[in-house]
Point group: C2
Chain length 358, copies 2
């Protein structure tokens, strides 16, 4: 997911933080506050070139016989979604798919996961069983194995039923070079499908929507689409999944990492009528709503059609659309031609929109 210490070095933080401050929910939003917390407090302690690259996963190289090397994608995600079950998914499916997708976004085939559970005293084991069953189904679908685990229990009132950390390893496809810093001017920006479903589905499961939207979370493993893309000769430059912070935040991260401008066409961004209606009612911008089964593919312009055809053939990206293009200026910005024909700046998420969405 895009929240994993993305391109942080250059992000401007308008909110001064001092050591007298405390953690607020916005620090988990995926937006400005989180980027600032990470760049001010985490990165100075964990400073190394792999982490500072700012992608969804760390790229590890293991030299072999002085000639070839094995390249691995290594990532982690803790999952604290509330409630545990929502239309279209649950914390178990989310925990497997989130890490599978983060591994994949570096151009890797996910292979092995670990699972760390924090259980609250009093949790029904039948409920845990449902979550584990869901994890098993998602792992089978994605083709990954859970090879190590850990279980901790905390007293009642010290967790919220259960939290799951999944970490994972994948092997990079041969000769690929995928990174948020690889977007090139003239590249085409493709979105794999409609946005906003996951956030709205979780909100509805909390009873905060006030009506039945019929929206289901899109939580899904994207690794098979990526396998098809990277086994083709399409020149894919960037892959990233717009999770916490939504499409707007993800595209801003890429624009910053690649030092380019992404120019979006609002008309072409696919949004279902149900998500649009829910967002209008709640005053949310769907560009900031989390997705868990969507990705941005930035590709060489000559390979656009072929990329789309590969994506159309996969159920999880059959509604893929061109939503924008890359241009040189203004650097480190996302602009959008709106439906009424004006151009506006699309900012990174500021503050907190929906806590505990993943």
């Amino acid at each position: 997911m895009t929240q994993d210490y993305p391109s942080l070095q250059g992000l401007v933080c308008p909110l001064p933080l001092t050591h007298n401050d405390t953690i607020v929910l916005g620090h988990g939003s995926g937006g400005k506050l989180m980027h600032d917390l990470i760049s001010r407090h985490f990165l100075p302690h964990f400073n190394n070139p792999i982490l500072m690259k700012g992608d969804d996963a760390g790229l590890l190289q293991f030299a072999f016989d002085g000639q070839k090397s094995l390249r691995l994608s290594f990532t982690t995600d803790s999952h604290v979604v509330a409630p545990l079950f929502f239309s279209g998914g649950d914390i178990g499916r989310l925990a497997v798919c989130g890490t599978v997708n983060d591994i994949s976004m570096l151009g890797a085939q996910p292979l092995y996961l670990t699972a760390g559970f924090i259980l609250e005293e009093g949790l029904e084991i039948a409920l845990l069983e449902r979550v584990l069953t869901s994890m098993e189904i998602a792992a089978t679908e994605a083709g990954v194995q859970i090879v190590a685990g850990d279980t901790k229990v905390v007293q009642k009132g010290k967790a919220d039923q259960l939290y799951i950390n999944t970490s994972g390893i994948g092997v990079l496809y041969p000769d690929v070079n995928i990174s948020g810093s690889n977007a090139q001017p003239e590249d085409i920006v493709i979105l794999s499908g409609t946005i906003g479903e996951h956030g709205i589905a979780v909100l509805e499961a909390r009873g905060e929507l006030g009506f039945s939207s019929g929206v289901k979370s899109d939580v899904a493993p994207l690794n098979r689409i990526i396998a098809d893309l990277l086994n083709s000769d399409c020149r894919v430059h960037v892959l990233r999944d717009p999770t916490r912070g939504g499409l707007a935040t993800t595209l801003n991260e890429i624009a910053q990492q690649s030092d380019i401008c992404i120019f979006l066409d609002e008309n072409s961004i696919p949004i279902t009528p149900e998500v649009r209606a829910a967002c209008e009612l709640l005053g949310f911008d769907p560009l900031f709503i989390a997705n868990e089964g969507k990705m941005v593919v930035i590709v060489h312009p000559d390979d656009t059609q072929k990329t789309l055809e590969i994506m159309y053939a996969n159920p999880y990206s059959e509604n893929a659309k061109i939503v924008g293009r890359v241009q040189t200026k203004p650097e480190r910005r996302v602009l959008m031609r709106t439906v009424i024909g004006t151009t506006r700046v699309v900012e990174i998420l500021s503050g907190e929109l929906l806590p505990r969405i993943c």
Copy 2:
């Protein structure tokens, strides 16, 4: 740590569990209840040969050119210790050392960690800074890099200040074959130092001791001792760190995995007077108390002296002692010659001794 899905297939569970049951603190103890939870509910869903091996980490093999292969050790641990700071350490040092040690116990050099944080709303950032500083120091000491991270925030009352998951990867030393299932009859059982410090130090930090024991946690990275051992020609068969569940539980796991008997000599088990006094006062058996900087080394009898000399040269194992030997029968048992000359069975930890010790 020994709690990571150890040798579970053969453990007898005297406590019938049904789906009407709920999680209790004992499910996180490292003992019988946890083994039962894992074998009944986790393993059926995550059944694969790597996980079922039952070691502290999963052993991954990446074939290369059809001839050679890269062998990696991959593990995870969530840390929920309360309080966050205790004499001799804190949750940050624990999170780094715990995973470094788990990777190492497979005979691997730990290289890369991920860190996933669950932060409680209202947590002081100054406190977070202290923990991050401690993680940095421990990572530097162990020689590992933190290459990916994740930060989640939950509402006040949904966590206890902060929880940290660390997952990690290491590369196996050439030609080693270390596993809890490799103990051989006649092998010698070496313990790297005194037991019980970590558990007593955490208990004292909670104010539950009622007096000042002066005991400091032993939390430390053990990878450099293991590097020295495995770069020598000592025939090391088993490495394992006696964390949750203590030495008794760890040795029982090994006895079960290797289908042998471990025969201990109580007189030779090193325990400081301070830990002994605290245990006597509280009615605890130090054999069940968690350690975070100790390990069991089971070695070919002809290499005992050389192994001890290597261990004496390292500050974290300078008090290493021979504590027992491996024999064929009774299989899957740990026996102990007591200080008064009788022989007793040493059981795996049953129920809960100290919750949230790591």
